[in-house]
Symmetry: C2
Subunit: 194 residues, 2 copies
DNA sequence: CGATTCTTTGAAAACAGTCAATCTGTGTGG
DNA sequence: CCACACAGATTGACTGTTTTCAAAGAATCG
């Protein structure tokens, strides 16, 4: 049950996890199952749980005054879900995160993280690696949103994350990319014609 | 000479720096002076130096095939400058970073960082805090670029980082916000009229 | 001063959004 | 098994914001 998580963490470290570290992971990470549409986090709450997606898919979003969702993140297997800032500082999160399909997460509570994990060497290395990658991905998204046309943003996503198109309907992808579903549909119609 | 840096780091930590840690900072951080227009990093290079801006201002940007700069980051006093991913992995950076005015940075080489700092407790805590903040800021910028109008993006920046308007000309701010200098100029003309 | 660099203004064009209607597929209950 | 509801995708006409291109005006620096 911990296989995917341990394999993933090993793949991100410069040296393999020790037996003690694996024991600590098994002690602190717990399987959390979410049904479709169930929330991992709601706006205004403190993020108590963060973890590794073993199976399933989630979306992170805000809701504006008209009730329209703005998708800020999509997470599938082998991604980490949660609001890191809220989780670590204990401040209310501005985001919703919910399961887009039945989902299983290997999750740690903020309390266990502080008590058992935060001083671990392998955790420091892991966080450093993941946060570098996340910052780079976010900066690419800033660049794309600022600078690229709707067509180029779509082409980028199709190239870099083709699996999203199997997992999420077009109107979700459109919102993630910062365009309307109509625009996304038209771009696809055009590129097919070529 | 190390006062600003040490005060800043202390302000970010849960407990004050010890004498040994301060000694280590003084050993590894060195003052780097940049003249106006001098590069801290150029596209294709590996980022060898990263550090804390004591005085001055820098811009981070890419250059497209037509030579047009796209500003991705602006840094002034009390910010950190450098490409973290390139710095830590030793991979070529896609960015330029140059001094927008005469600038002083307290910088560490990637080598010294690995040899002396990366295993330090206070560095782990510092990186964790800063990277959480950076991720949050970047996600806000993704949201702004995707969702807000040019007028709202400008209002946001005026509210949250008014100091930028004292330090950078309008065409640089416009590029940072993902609009043309003409649009920025027109928005200001309109809001003045009210 | 003369020369960049920065900012403003105008007119036309392009891109993407909005609103509204229709079409498609899927699954559910009678 | 059919009818219906529902979520998702497409299409058309129209609107509005922002860009592009061009020119000129203002400010700053050597």
């Amino acid at each position: 049950m911990y296989d995917e998580l341990i394999a993933y963490i090993n793949s991100q470290l410069s040296s393999e996890l020790t037996e003690e570290e694996i024991a600590l992971i098994k002690k602190t990470f717990k399987l959390k199952k979410l049904r479709k549409h169930q929330f991992l986090l709601q706006e205004g709450e403190v993020c108590q749980l963060a973890g590794f997606v073993v199976k399933g898919a989630l979306k992170q979003y805000t809701v504006d005054e008209n009730g329209k969702e703005d998708i800020l993140g999509l997470y599938i297997e082998n991604w980490w879900a949660g609001d890191r800032e809220s989780y670590s500082k204990g401040t209310p999160s501005p985001f919703y995160i919910d399961a887009f399909e039945a989902t299983e997460i290997m999750a740690v509570s903020a309390e266990d993280f502080t008590n058992y994990l935060s001083d671990q060497r392998f955790i420091s290395e892991l966080i450093r690696t993941l946060s570098e990658r996340q910052s780079m991905q976010l900066l690419k998204r800033v660049y794309a949103a600022k600078t690229l046309s709707a067509e180029d943003r779509l082409a980028d996503l199709e190239k870099n994350y083709p699996e999203f198109f199997q997992r999420f309907p077009q109107h979700i992808i459109a919102s993630y990319l910062g365009m309307t579903k109509e625009t996304l549909s038209r771009i696809r119609a055009n590129s097919h014609r070529k």
